[in-house]
Symmetry: C2
Subunit: 211 residues, 2 copies
């Protein structure tokens, strides 16, 4: 009923599918097509849209261009969002170097690391000493941070982010961050997801059937 996280994630999925439809030359879609592309029921598609006041044509489906415009606006794609990353291990480096965010309106402004050897002010994006995090975040009005440090350091980094005014965090560390009421936290854990896949593969082999 309410707008929840899964619902917003679906908007991202719709958006992605619509971009692909458009690049294939399509001009309109039906809830049926979109649901199929994204893996949800047509009813879910229409429900999601109605929650955001997006409406189509009773018979003609939805105009892709109009729909994308609405979704872009909802997802804040009409401006560039700057993000910082703390931790410069393998995952952090991968995200720092990833070029795909830029065309989605997400700019990794800088990386931060506690290890002076990792600091590189000339890089693009630059890698700065962790001590400068707060100052940098405040100076640049950054509201979103990515935590990609070992579990032992994650809470400390989170506290620093909060005190710097960060309001949203994407956390790759395998711990529950405790913190402010007014900061949203999303967690990604590759190991857990992989463990999960492995569990079901094992379970299927034992029981002989899909879960």
């Amino acid at each position: 009923m309410n707008i929840n996280k899964q619902c917003i994630i679906r908007l991202s999925r719709y958006r992605n599918a619509l971009n692909r439809f458009r690049s294939l030359g399509f001009v309109k879609v039906f809830s049926d097509n979109l649901g199929d592309a994204v893996g949800v029921t047509p009813a879910q598609v229409r429900k999601d849209f109605s929650l955001f006041g997006i409406s189509g044509n009773k018979k003609g489906g939805y105009q892709i261009d109009q729909l994308l415009e609405k979704l872009n606006s909802i997802l804040g794609k009409d401006e560039v969002h700057k993000v910082v990353i703390v931790g410069c291990g393998h995952i952090a480096s991968a995200l720092l170097r990833y070029k795909g965010f830029e065309k989605e309106g997400i700019r990794i402004a800088a990386g931060f690391d506690i290890d002076p050897a990792k600091v590189n002010r000339a890089a693009a994006p630059p890698v700065l000493p962790l001590e400068e995090l707060k100052e940098y975040v405040k100076a640049n009005g950054i509201k979103t941070g990515i935590i990609a440090v070992p579990d032992i350091a994650a809470q400390q980094v989170h506290d620093m982010m909060l005190s710097a005014g960060i309001k949203g965090v994407l956390n790759f560390a395998p711990i529950r961050l405790k913190g402010a009421e007014d900061c949203i936290i999303n967690n990604i854990n590759v190991e857990y997801e992989l463990e999960n896949v492995i569990y079901y593969v094992n379970a299927m082999q034992k029981t002989g059937r899909k879960p």
Copy 2:
């Protein structure tokens, strides 16, 4: 009621928290402690355990060692699981080089790429040409694969994995993979998660309150 994906992910979280408790010298935990560490209610912890026939002591909580043994067994930690990765972009490279999987019983056996320039048979793990995927997977009895290629190539890679006998896939590409009934697919999408954080940060700023 039933055992679902979220439930299994929680088992991974409990396991992680328990390892930390143990390394701090604790011997037993209560559902209260565990729930707090992981961010769920004590009732949820007990419910999860009872689904897997794990029981504690009516007054004494749970013995950490025994509990870990049970969770390890459920999650298949008593053997090493070999995994292949296809795609050698930034994320794939990060996972290939990540040392943390090994101590959790997950071994990245090899990477595969379509680009001959990326091939490196001497590396550990080796990076092999994509054509060799099927042969390698069959020869090594591998059941789990990670897809970290661009969206345009993902379905094709998935098809190859299926024909090679892979039964579980962790997919980083932003599309819905269509495939076999007897293959489990988990999706990770960093961009969607980040977009989601950004959405809520914006929403909070506009409405002034947490979602």
